[in-house]
């Protein structure tokens, strides 16, 4: 995997881009490359992470403006080719706004900005994003969001359940998300969006390593 390169997208207002890059390079020895949002050339990256933050200041709606960047326009072909895309927090919001994943992320039920560690049940193994080798079905990851309440209509929810597209559910729903949803995949399984931050759980010294498996799975075919 020495040539495998993960593109980490940088929007104006992204603030987890360096954390993602650090976790991939420092903890997993996976090469990364920052991709400025104005770039549409994805030819030299093998997977992409849309990191957390506040792209375009969250103006209009979280992720709404980022959707129109040249990079997101180029993402359609990248996803169709089967390559992996991981959207974390604001990245998840961008993936729903741009239609790569169904539903939307709206203001937390109690209006709090929640910064906490949460327990999550791994619901679906689609895409192999949470194969951790020990069949661990509950993981702990940090969350940090004000608008992380997953919402979708009942038809969409049924489709998510029937097609096993729900990847993660909160054990104790912190934000009012429909069906306790914390993360979902597309039908093919190569796109994952989640509100928790795996890149902040890659080293025991900062509280846990349950995020390693998800970042590591970026290199899966």
């Amino acid at each position: 995997m020495e040539n495998f390169t993960v593109g980490v997208v940088v929007f104006p207002g992204s603030n987890c881009d360096r954390d993602v890059s650090w976790a991939l390079e420092g903890c997993l020895d996976i090469r990364t490359k920052y991709l400025w949002h104005e770039s549409s050339d994805l030819s030299d990256v093998d997977a992409i992470v849309l990191p957390g933050g506040f792209s375009y200041g969250d103006y209009l709606r979280c992720g709404a403006i980022a959707r129109f960047s040249p990079l997101i326009n180029a993402l359609d072909e990248f996803v169709k080719s089967g390559k992996r895309v991981l959207g974390i927090c604001n990245g998840f919001q961008i993936l729903t706004e741009s239609g790569f994943l169904p539903g939307a992320l709206v203001a937390n039920k109690n209006l709090n900005f929640i910064c906490d560690d949460v327990e999550l049940d791994i619901v679906s193994s689609k895409g192999g994003w949470f194969n951790n080798g020990v069949e661990k079905q509950t993981i702990k990851l940090p969350i940090a969001h004000g608008e992380g309440r997953y919402y979708c209509d009942s038809d969409t929810l049924k489709k998510l359940v029937d097609n096993e597209l729900i990847a993660l559910r909160y054990k104790n729903n912190p934000n009012g998300s429909s069906f306790d949803i914390a993360g979902i995949t597309n039908e093919k399984g190569n796109v994952l969006g989640l509100m928790p931050h795996p890149e902040r759980a890659c080293d025991e010294t900062i509280g846990g390593t349950d995020g390693l498996f998800t970042l590591k799975s970026l290199i899966l075919k």
Binding site: P102, A104, A107, K109, L111, R149, Y151
Partner: protein
């Protein structure tokens, strides 16, 4: 070319909980306002736009509303249009 002033209203769909509206309702009651049954917060977007007639401008505004101003998964929109 005609110029139009457009006011777009974007609202959360009634099926979507509006916590900001709920918080504002609670503050309104604390202020002493009586009889408030419901309070929901939306957005207004004002656009000045040129086009060849109302129909063309409506087409442009429909596209903007549907693709950018509102996320139709969670929001509804309506607009009014005034020729300047």
């Amino acid at each position: 070319m005609d110029q139009f002033a457009v006011k777009v209203l974007v609202r959360l769909r009634s099926s979507v909980l509006d916590p900001a509206g709920e918080a504002t309702k609670s503050a309104s009651i604390k202020l002493g306002a009586e009889g408030i049954k419901s309070l929901r917060i939306g957005k207004m977007i004002e656009v000045k736009i040129e086009g060849n007639g109302e129909n063309e401008v409506r087409e442009k505004i429909d596209l903007l509303c549907d693709r950018l101003f509102a996320n139709t998964v969670i929001e509804d929109y309506e607009y009014s249009l005034e020729k300047l």
